[in-house]
């Protein structure tokens, strides 16, 4: 970190990244539902319309495939659209445009038309949002070649990764764990959350500093087991390691596609054990890919099966939210289980 820094929330970090990108490059345009005048239901784009005018930051009709489709057209023109889907749960209407179009444009046109664009969306549960304000659809994007998929877990990462995403020549799905917007959340829902201003990762460089896509971060060094996590689950992993006293190495993947296989392999070869965690439903979740990859790459180093701790294969419930959410207890149990083997 060179130069000055400011303490801020993840929302402020995202807003700042937009601001810097828009200031730097007038090709960057920002739009989405309630994104313009109001600045977004989570306020991630507040102030941008006022500063850059309503042709650079504007509201959109409630039509997610329209928003993404129009953004695709804009990106093939030469602009760099950054669009917000109000909740990740509402991205499915845009799925065709993302999968069949944005992801394939460069390939199918022999490189003539490209889609440098970012599709941001709040993801994950823990806010009593019920099944349509809580989903984590990352695995539906990691299966799609041509996309990049990013999940920041702190204000620091959010800013640096979003700047990289906006600068990337390819379409980036940017999933913002909404439970982290105001502070790191470790799954202990009955305890107060530390605000970002009291967490080191809430310290964000003021300038245009990027974090490269495709590179994981080691959040905790450890020797006994590797935990692969991203987003909210990074803090759950920390809590579980602390509570079990198991010396876990915690890798925050940051980018799911392309995945930092090197960092993962190195760690698992060292620890010989691996637990994979995420909030999304289990079957065919991104944990499956992680587990498969780890055992392919580290089979002869593994002393226990790679375990997955995930959301259940049910819709995200309202009242039973904490029974669904894979909190520190469930993660702790898995850590103990692999250590027994």
């Amino acid at each position: 970190m060179s130069g000055s820094t400011t303490r801020m929330t993840m929302i402020e970090a995202i807003r700042t990244a937009h601001d810097l990108a828009m200031e730097r490059d007038d090709k960057v345009v920002v739009f989405g539902e309630d994104v313009g005048y109001f600045g977004g239901v989570f306020r991630c784009t507040a102030g941008l319309q006022k500063k850059y005018g309503s042709h650079r930051c504007f509201d959109a009709p409630i039509n997610e495939s329209g928003i993404v489709g129009a953004a695709i057209g804009m990106s093939t023109y030469g602009l760099k659209p950054v669009v917000e889907i109000q909740f990740a749960d509402y991205v499915y209407p845009a799925y065709d445009q993302i999968v069949s179009e944005a992801a394939r444009m460069r390939h199918r046109s022999g490189g003539q038309f490209t889609c440098p664009m970012v599709i941001r969306m709040p993801t994950g549960g823990g806010i009593f949002g019920g099944q349509t304000h809580s989903q984590s659809p990352e695995a539906l994007f990691t299966h799609v070649s041509g996309l990049k998929v990013v999940v920041p877990s702190s204000p620091y990462d959010a800013k640096g990764l979003l700047l990289s995403a906006i600068d990337d020549p390819d379409p980036v799905i940017f999933l913002e764990p909404k439970r982290l917007y105001n502070g790191p959340f470790d799954g202990h829902h009955d305890r107060p959350v530390t605000p970002w201003k009291n967490h080191p990762l809430g310290e964000v460089p003021d300038g245009y500093e990027t974090i490269p896509l495709g590179k994981a971060a080691i959040r905790r060094e450890g020797s006994e087991v590797t935990i692969l996590a991203y987003g909210t689950m990074v803090y759950v992993a920390e809590a579980a390691a602390k509570e079990t006293g198991i010396d876990a190495e915690i890798i925050d993947l940051r980018t799911l596609l392309p995945l930092d296989i090197e960092a993962i392999t190195e760690s698992v070869k060292k620890t010989g054990r691996c637990v994979v965690i995420h909030e999304a439903t289990r079957t065919s979740g991104f944990g499956a890919e992680l587990s498969a990859t780890v055992q392919e790459a580290c089979f002869y180093h593994l002393e226990a099966p790679v375990l997955r701790v995930t959301g259940w294969d049910t819709p995200y419930p309202h009242a039973q939210e904490w029974a669904y959410f894979p909190g520190p207890d469930r993660v702790g149990r898995a850590l103990r289980e692999v250590m027994e083997d």
Partner: protein, 410 residues
């Protein structure tokens, strides 16, 4: 094109924003009684004008006037008033309950009570509504127990939806109220499919689809229009234009069109607008559309012109994006006041009876709330068990889910 001027993007702007003086002067409002009443078999092309007018029945003096003023006797009107008052009081109490931490979330109907309450009375039992989150009047006017609504809102041990759904996302097949989706618009084409099924089965039941002004921009709205038009489905396609979609005024969804009802043109679907704050007008138009559907004349599009007088939801504060006085400047008035004035005007109601009714209804709602809270609230008391989360994913629980339930210790 060297002589072309640079192009510009048009960004729609609402009439006023915070700090501005509200101004509805370019909102054309026909007088009550002015709109004609076509035959139910009138082809779409013959009633084109009705997409630009507004069917209104109750005039400023509280009289019911014109060709749409016919259907309801005094008892029915008093029922209607009671339904709307119940909904408003219910909303107030639940807003408070949410603030007290008894639930996570709530959405109110303030100013829009007439739309769903009056509409329900034009349907038959067995007909199916595909509502959004702002038509609880369909349940209240259909005599769905308030306690069950609250049980759902509280996600308590008697929640018919077993704690799974966000508060106010009711479902009651028995009361013709389709399970609400959090995803805007999806229900619209489903309603058309349900209506097609009724036609395939040679049934006589019809469907009603509901959508907000903002959500008409969703693709499912279009799918519904295409399928309803092609298969002549027995469905009523309702748009509740309450002027706002969270912070976004209706101009973003409407675009260059003059009204939302206009969307029906180009599909050959008869389309009209109704004063959504006029109980009598909504009821009459709904009856007309239901008769059309039931007698084989297919879909009707109805734009209910109303105003969202409250916040979008308990997560929303409208003062950030709309002028404070817009509510009071809204020219179509308050639906409860208007029906009350009408009842008084025809000598079937009085201020005293109103005050008394108000107290009685408040009491009923309070009692229901007490009853519901015995079953717990989200904040405390008993809840559906975590194991309920694993039920109903499939008709029969497959082995992997059973294993997960066990692993979770439920």
């Amino acid at each position: 094109m060297p002589d072309s001027k640079p192009l510009k993007l048009r960004i729609p702007e609402p009439g006023c924003r915070p700090g501005d003086q509200p101004d509805f002067s370019d909102f054309v409002i026909p007088r009550a009684g002015e709109a004609r009443r076509p035959d139910v078999d009138a082809p779409a092309a013959d009633i084109r004008d009705m997409a630009f007018s507004i069917v209104r029945v109750i005039n400023k003096k509280g009289e019911a006037v014109g060709p749409w003023a016919d259907a309801l006797d005094a008892d029915a009107l008093r029922d209607g008033l009671r339904h709307m008052m119940t909904l408003r009081i219910f909303d107030e109490r639940m807003l408070t309950a949410q603030r007290q931490g008894k639930t996570s979330f709530y959405m109110q109907h303030l100013g829009e009570e007439a739309v769903s309450c009056a509409f329900r009375m034009a349907l038959e039992d067995g007909d199916m509504n595909f509502p959004t989150y702002r038509q609880a009047g369909l349940l209240i006017a259909g005599d769905y127990p308030l306690v069950d609504m609250m049980n759902q809102i509280y996600s308590n041990s008697k929640d018919p939806l077993k704690g799974r759904q966000l508060p106010i996302m009711y479902s009651s097949k028995e009361h013709g109220f389709f399970t609400i989706s959090g995803n805007l618009g999806t229900q619209y084409i489903q309603a058309v499919g349900w209506a097609m099924a009724s036609a395939i089965a040679g049934d006589t039941r019809i469907a009603s689809a509901w959508i907000g002004d903002g959500a008409t921009a969703e693709s499912d709205f279009y799918s519904a229009m295409v399928f309803a038009s092609t298969y002549n489905a027995p469905v009523i396609l309702n748009i509740v234009n309450n002027q706002w979609a969270i912070s976004t005024f209706q101009g973003f969804a409407r675009g260059n069109a003059v009204t939302f009802a206009e969307r029906g043109h180009g599909f050959g679907i008869p389309s009209l607008r109704v004063d959504g704050n006029d109980y009598l007008a909504v009821h009459a138009v709904a009856k007309w559309a239901a008769e059309r559907a039931r007698s084989g004349h297919g879909p009707t599009l109805i734009e209910h012109v109303t105003y969202r007088a409250g916040g979008h939801s308990t997560s929303d504060d409208p003062s950030a994006y709309r002028a404070k006085d817009e509510v009071s400047a809204w020219p179509l008035g308050d639906p409860i006041d208007r029906l009350k004035r009408h009842l008084i005007a025809i000598g079937e109601w009085s201020e005293e009876r109103h005050t008394q009714a108000q107290a009685e209804i408040a009491d009923t709602v309070r009692k229901a709330q007490k009853e519901a809270e015995k079953n717990g609230t989200l904040g405390s008391g008993s809840h559906p068990s975590p194991s309920a989360m694993f039920d109903d994913v499939y008709a029969e629980m497959p082995p992997h889910l059973r294993a997960q339930r066990q692993a979770g210790g439920h």
